[in-house]
Amino acid sequence: MDFNDTAEEAAFRAEARAWLQANAPKLNLTGMPEKEVLKHAKAWQAKKAEARYACITWPEKLGGRGGTPIQQVIFGQEEAKVGAPRGFFDIGLGMCIPTVMAFANDETKARFVSPAVRGEEIWCQLFSEPSAGSDVAGLRTKAVRDGDDWVINGQKVWTSGAHYCDFGIVLVRTDPDVPKHKGLTMFWIDMKDPGVTVKPIHQMSGGSNFNEVYFENVRVNDSQRLGPVGDGWKVALVTLMNERLAVGGATGPNYPELLSLARSTPSGDSSALEDQAFREKLADWYVQAEGLKLTRFRSITALSRGQTPGPEASIGKIVSANQLQAMSSEAMEVLDQYGILSDPELAPLEAGFQQSVMWSAGLRIAGGTDEILKNIIAERVLGLPGDVRVDKDVAFKDMPTGL
């Protein structure tokens, strides 16, 4: 047991590090407008693609390197250290393009794969809807056949990056007369179509990281269909399976910041760090945070050994999101009345904890709510039965909606 690279891994890491040092842009991204960051991100993606670092595990003929998952992890670790702009291409290259590669015709693949790898075109995933969140198969955006075309009407929600994306994959209802999972079909669409309207969502945290996307008579050709008519749910499962090894979970202030905050905050005759109740909680959070980090090491070990990681990676988001919320709340408790201040000029850590107490509420919902994630662990990891489905044999149009 050790934390070292194998000889091949070390060689790849050295090579990646040297390339990053020579090529990564030296940027200060703090406070930079998103449009600027995006410009830099696209340039950086093109550079990576040229050097075959963009999609390391993909075959060379698709613009990849024909590398291993562990090389992907190593490059990601090294890239994170240089502070290059990232994140814009993850959904497209991690989920959308693999779906296109699995289901589109050769012409479509030839048209889209390469520009996506080079960062020239960005893709988004359009699944969730106002009335279809956890129950995404209950979606209502519909596509109606019209000759060689389909006409799409409806609304999607929580779409990351829709405002800067060029293309998207969209799951729609093509047959409301059959049970919900059976009446869905997947298409790729042009996000610049005049019938597509993107509106940012104003979050409770104040920011706008996601969008609503409206479709008004958006006409797509049948050649844009991904997979057979009525098979959209199966196609969507392929999309979701392609989610990359979850490396992060919540980001934000962690136990070292909380420890420092307590140390510098007076409490009675000493500091809040001397408070026994606080110390017990801090110990628990340390153990959780380290436990998560070490659990990721176990997954990476499996990759390093050429194996598929076990189901342990599934605990990441549920633990980290809840911990971030709890720690942020505790940070405010430590500050006492001063904790209400969210002005970065006044609040410690530029109000990092005040921001994360708001942001973490969303993290517990995004990408699978706590409750859905527990169902997933129970069903897919532990093998417990699924919930009773009262909608399984009911035509979609006859399902109760509460409206």
Partner: protein, 369 residues
Amino acid sequence: MNFDYSDDQKFLKSEARKFLDARATAKVNRAVLDDASKSYDPELWKAVAEMGWLGAAIPEEFGGLGLGHIDLCAIAEELGRVVAPIPFASTVYFFAEAVMLAGSEAQKAELLPKIASGELIGCFATSEGPGAATAASLSTTVLDGSINGVKIPVTDGDIAHKAIVLASEGGKPGLFIVDLATAGKEVLKTLDPSRSAAKLTFSGQPAERLGGVGDGIALMEAVFDRAAVLIAFEQVGGADKCLEMAKEYALGRYAFGRTIAGYQAIKHKLADIYVKNELARSNAYYGAWALNTSAPELPIAASAARIAGCDAFWFAAKENVQTHGGMGFTWAVDAHLYYRRAKQLGLVAGAARSWKERLVSQLERRNAA
């Protein structure tokens, strides 16, 4: 990155499971649990000695297998899974570790081969009453090589041949090796009767110092660090077994017209157990790495392994009883064997509460540095 058992260790672990599934069934635990005159299962103890497990981490020159601590962790996980009724922890995790850590060459040569062969059962005697022992609270004393005082409770104190005892010598705490042949032994009633405990009374028995004068508390903590990691693996093994038991029972139990394993109240409970078990496993692995490499991170790694192990096993054990419903509260169902053992293991190397304080003190120092 190589943060998992090796193939050889996985093989050792699967062989250990096969062996224990056959030899250490719940019936074996219950034979000790149900009989007040029994403190352990001597047959299982002998069999485990024959497997070489007692000396897994003892160097070959002292009669052990010299495999290393990660191999011992793999064995510990399997022993925890079957709540084995043997003095393995006392002898191997505490006594042998203390000797390997602080013993002179002569002490190692005398004691370690006897441990490896199963000839010597050892125990670790620190507690003198409610609360954790400190240098100031110690009333057991050593004067001119003779020990006097009372230790309570001492796990396996009634069956052990020798004890390592925390005692004060000229006002300075030290660890002492004491032969228990003539010591007073009173068997105590405990929460987990499949692991015995005793009150030991010393009245002038010879006491041989282990380690330096005044090193008692520091050595005790170092031994606790090592034992905590190994016990964390027993806890992980026990917690995983509880999850399996709860799952199996829930799948077979029907209520309101369907299996209760389909209700979210049960599914989410079992998912919560899974999450804690995985966190405990990862923290235990880190402890194993630190122990095996004598890393300076050991005190922090051991604290985290201990805290996560205590939390996971207790949670899994109590929610396993809960998932079994009324059946879970009966003597006939095995859920209580784990419920008892979770408490026993959660306290023998010091309560999690103390470890949390210890962990934060270490983090404070690291954070200030």
